[in-house]
Symmetry: C2
Subunit: 703 residues, 2 copies
């Protein structure tokens, strides 16, 4: 019997496509094969220039009832199309984006049940997007997905740049390892930095996942247009090196509740033999729906400072008093409570930031901790945690509104929800109206803590639905949203460009919570930023957090020049200068770059890139002849080569270069930097040294 079993096992491992369809990218470099296995399971594979990228990988779903959508399929028809269109962005790395792909829709029928399912493949020159579509049909009207079977079968034990799959947080340091090492490294990677994190699997990782093969292929797996569906993680079978979709569950363990006609998000695979192409890919945006907002004139990039880093470092506090064990919003009277004296968002302190912003040309000031409720907001599963409209008694909202207005500075609203989703939705209209009534046109929202009601996860279908609800409603009020701790972006900012920022990864704040790896910002553009811009809050000039708050032992693991580079390499229409005004006052020459740098681009040029090592990016300002270059380096010193070929030919420009000093080092000497000016042309090639954890920034401004 043993022999027979072996034979059967081999048979079942072999995929025997009974029908096969082939799709090629417009330039012919990438080839997709689709087929059905012998038992009628859909399967695809992907080649790049003759190299196998994705081995035959299964497609389908397990359902709560009605039978799985995993096999017994036949191909009813195949629809193909070629699309080449260019669309205008509202903001971003390019003013125009070309969407050029060949499409193949494979219309399937499950023979025994007559249920219909379509798989839509769109093959671009830089990769593949595919999604499942379920037409409206009597035999498949409502259904619950318990598991998505989509596989991404790797061809070997690739190098992966990964963070643990987690249903509730994305704020991890990245690990670079072989796929086979993920399981062993998981305990170390899954650091316990907050109370609500929930590990999804011992071999689970988050998307966007960056991979590199031993023969030099860069592969990136993510999703696009995550709408009304749970967020996808990837679970590795480390025997076969095959990833499988791992969807975020609801409170009872199901994944997605579907109503036909409906579609899943796109599953995306960007592939190239040049790492720079990963950064240049627009697949995620191209697979999202066009802008849904007719008048976008109110959506504006924004450079800001904020009453924030002083709380993050523990120098001041969000809260106002220590008098009470907890706060009942509906009956607290703060005027009768004794202030603890360390409240950050006081009228006086905010005025200082407004003055600083006005003096240095910033658009706005974010103020956290302005509203009542911060005494007991976190980790208490408190339903009515904030009301979003009542300031602390020492925060003179009308006065500051008028003061900021006089100075030509906007105030940015802050809505920490403490993940009390219902409370926020109940108060959202009033909160947004309050914003407009007081001149706020942007809000930073936050989702710290366990989602309420208990049992729900941050990245489940129900909660994802909430994040988008808040963004859509904000659009009704012409409000821009920067959501922290919300689900990682998947290009939805194309459709809703008022979503000007997200955190959804380990931001600069962790430099005050013990520090991030020096290489952190060399991997984020390959991973987190594939889905959309990040409110990373760069600009830390004082790396020794002890100097800000003697009780806080932490170190920002970058050089000062590296911090400058992030304004270019981490493109975002929303950029903070996160450090304290007094720290900028100490380095006004370097601060000049932050004052000068633009946030919105006509075009971007990816000059050098290697995940978790370095990247060098040049960008041309949208609608102006200004260029900025950023070079962000990882842990190893290197020499960047900047080719100024992106400049117009036959003209001379003056470049101001902000770079690491000779002896700079992220740990030992981070504030060593050099500022020099050079005349450059499109033929210039400059070699610029980058320190460990270092980098550089260049501004090329009109004279």
């Amino acid at each position: 019997m043993k022999k027979l079993i072996t034979t059967l096992a081999i048979l079942s491992l072999l995929s025997l496509p009974v029908s096969a369809e082939t799709l090629k990218s417009p330039d012919g470099t990438i080839t997709l094969e689709f087929g059905l296995t012998g038992d009628g399971q859909p399967e695809y594979s992907l080649d790049y220039a003759g190299k196998e990228v994705i081995k035959p990988s299964k497609l389908g779903f397990r359902l709560v009832k009605g039978g799985d959508l995993d096999k017994d399929f036949e191909v009813v028809s195949v629809d193909t199309a070629s699309v080449d269109e260019t669309w205008q962005t509202v903001w971003g790395e390019e003013s125009q984006i070309r969407s050029h792909y060949n499409e193949m829709k494979v219309n399937l029928k499950q023979k025994s049940t007559k249920r219909l399912m379509t798989i839509d493949f769109r093959l671009f020159n830089d990769g593949l997007g595919f999604r499942y579509e379920f037409p409206m049909q009597k035999k498949l009207s409502y259904f619950d997905i318990t598991d998505e079977l989509t596989e991404f079968a790797m061809t070997g034990d690739h190098t992966a740049y990964w963070i643990p799959a987690d249903y509730d947080t994305q704020e991890y340091d990245y690990t670079r390892s072989r796929l086979s090492e993920i399981r062993g490294l998981m305990p170390e990677a899954w650091t316990h930095h907050n109370k609500w994190q929930e590990l999804a699997s011992p071999t689970g990782v988050q998307t966007s996942l960056q991979l590199k093969t031993d023969d030099g292929l860069y592969i990136n797996i993510h999703e696009a247009a995550l709408v009304d569906f749970p967020c996808m993680h990837l679970e590795l079978n480390d025997s076969t090196m095959t990833f499988k979709a791992l969807l975020t569950p609801d409170a009872v363990g199901n994944k997605a509740h579907m109503q036909t006609d409906c579609v899943t998000p796109w599953r995306t695979i960007i592939v190239s033999d040049d790492a720079r192409d990963i950064l240049a890919s627009r697949i995620t945006l191209n697979l999202n729906e066009p802008c849904a907002i007719e008048d976008t004139s109110w959506i504006k990039p924004c450079k800001y400072v904020g009453v924030w880093w002083e709380m993050i470092t523990g120098k001041s506090k969000w809260s106002y008093t220590n008098d009470l064990p907890n706060i009942h919003l509906d009956r607290v009277d703060y005027t009768k409570l004794k202030p603890h004296g360390r409240h950050g968002a006081t009228t006086e302190n905010v005025k200082r930031y407004i003055d600083f912003a006005a003096k240095h040309g910033f658009d706005a000031v974010l103020v956290e901790g302005w509203n009542i409720g911060w005494e007991d907001w976190s980790n208490n599963m408190k339903d009515e945690v904030f009301d979003f409209v009542t300031p602390y008694p020492d925060f003179d909202l009308p006065g500051l509104r008028d003061y900021a207005n006089e100075k030509g500075v906007k105030l940015i609203m802050h809505h920490e929800t403490s993940s009390s989703v219902r409370n926020y939705e109940r108060r959202l209209d009033e909160a947004y109206k309050f914003m407009k009534d007081n001149g706020y046109d942007a809000v930073k929202s936050g989702y710290v803590g366990n989602i309420i009601p208990a049992g729900s996860n941050h990245f489940s279908q129900w909660t994802n639905n909430h994040y988008l609800y808040a963004v859509k409603k904000a659009a009704d009020y012409k409000i821009m949203v920067n959501a922290h701790e919300a689900v990682r972006p998947t290009g939805l900012c194309r459709t809703w460009p008022n979503l000007i920022g997200n955190e959804s990864a380990r931001g600069t704040e962790y430099q005050a919570f013990g520090g991030s790896k020096p290489s952190h910002t060399t991997i984020l553009p390959f991973t987190r930023l594939i889905g959309g811009p990040m409110d990373y809050t760069p600009g830390i000039f004082e790396m020794d957090i002890t100097k800000v708050n003697p009780k806080k032992k932490s170190w920002c693991n970058t050089t000062l020049a590296n911090q400058l580079s992030l304004y270019v390499t981490m493109s975002s229409p929303l950029q903070m200068a996160a450090d304290l005004p007094e720290n900028y006052e100490r380095f006004l020459d370097a601060f000049q770059f932050i004052k000068d740098v633009d946030l919105d681009w006509d075009q971007s040029y990816y000059l050098e890139a290697e995940p978790m090592e370095y990247l060098t990016v040049a960008r041309k300002t949208r609608g102006a002849d200004r260029w900025f270059v950023g070079g962000t380096n990882g842990a190893e010193p290197r020499e960047a080569v900047v080719d100024f070929g992106f400049l117009p030919k036959d003209a001379k420009f003056t470049a101001t270069i902000y770079r690491d000093g000779k002896d700079a080092h992220y740990r030992d000497n981070p504030q060593s930097y050099v500022i020099e000016t050079k005349t450059v042309t499109s033929k210039t090639r400059l070699k610029i040294p980058e320190a460990a954890g270092g980098g550089f920034a260049i501004s090329i401004l009109p004279k």
Copy 2:
């Protein structure tokens, strides 16, 4: 060793109060004893006129963390008070209610943890209310309750009138049995009549629970002021005949999330040796907070008809079309769909009801199925199930609004939520505004189906919070609410008198779903109505549902006279005449009683009562010299004795009596009735025969 174990067991069974406190009711009839057991667990017992009602019963809680609040307590202090006050009702069985009680607050401290907990006992002449109070304290700020330990230890194997404890529905027929029989009868009692019910325990029953002892005591256990807490069920230990609180869990199995200072709902025990006193008790209302609405002039009792029974019987439908497997609210175009021709809420049909209402002096017409989405509303866990503002194309809302207005008739709005709580909350402001814009001032809301998000229950803290939210927000809009399938009432209508009705029990609709027991309405006043009025929707004149819809085999198990009686015995400020206009046209003489009967009372007189057997109630109209008497009988024929002593002395009145015919029987001859007039005085005593499932109604109107 065996002997030793026995000794220990006896020791732990014995309660050894180390301190004891006694409280007596104002009239001295009821005595409460409070004490601590040897290990410091709070304990209480209750006597009525020397008879033990509640044997020593434990009090306390189990918590998720921080240690249980179950023992190791000491009494810090005891506060006592006597209260005798009278308050005005906005509507109800009496215009004034006296609240007369002695109060004892036992302030406890857990010795090892220093945590404070108070138990507040209020002892009325008709029973006890007690609740737990948690002062704000550093050592107990936020906590999660996993179990409430409150016991109600019975003195014997009493007769109970019960329905199964269920976390999601209350719509059961009652079972009368010995306590010891509950477990065995549970499978039969827990009928599977809907898909979302969830049995709580094999010996779990719902409150309000009516009990009767062999020596003639009537005991009723319920709760009052259920605010921000899970609904309580009772779980019987059928070895010791002790009930224990069984709270409705959240999605992760916890019960209540608490933030000090806070209180639990009141646990109530009404007791008397006369069943009529149970009906007359105002403990539930008295334990609720006073009216929170300043101007209540817009809250008005309402007698109504509705486009409803025709859907319930299947004669017509809520839905409009059969064209699609499901409906996407955001993109359906009903004008392009073929009507199935059985839609009930058509303009023409609604006009017919408006005409009928105007002709017969009804205040309002309820219309269900007027708004889009009914094709797939039920059992689909559909998030965006209704929008509450878009009428079907064959429902001319502005036209009907104006038509009803001309006729002096109100339309009652209908908001079925399909338990998609978030969808309802998101749309609530718009829906209420739409109502006011179109002249609606009352809404019937519904919570059919599983609560969304999955894992939540109908009667959990989170969902209970929603029901009250909807009522409070309605008050902001001056809207009256009649919520169906919401948590059973606990007297909150005192605080929020715009909550003019609830279903929260097995209503008349079940007479079209196979029928209810003939005794059903003889137990509801002892159970469901202890918490507040019920929108029972009486007034069925055609008992053979087949005659309404030949495809529907069901029978309304009452006589026609019984149906009339319910307008008096089931007091409610909201009363429907539920049957079809054409059925009323056939019995206009009997229908006259429904036209005449009032809904709001100065005083009520409980003339006869025995749970699940019969009750006879007289009521004086609020602000008018009009009296109505109702006699509702159970399954056994009997003779009611009506003592007109409630009438003013020395005056003659004409009473119109609507009673069962001699040969009437709920199953064989339900439409046999007699109408007769008699002159009555306060000295009149009339014997009135009541058929099986029968009853009678009397109107005493000014000449």
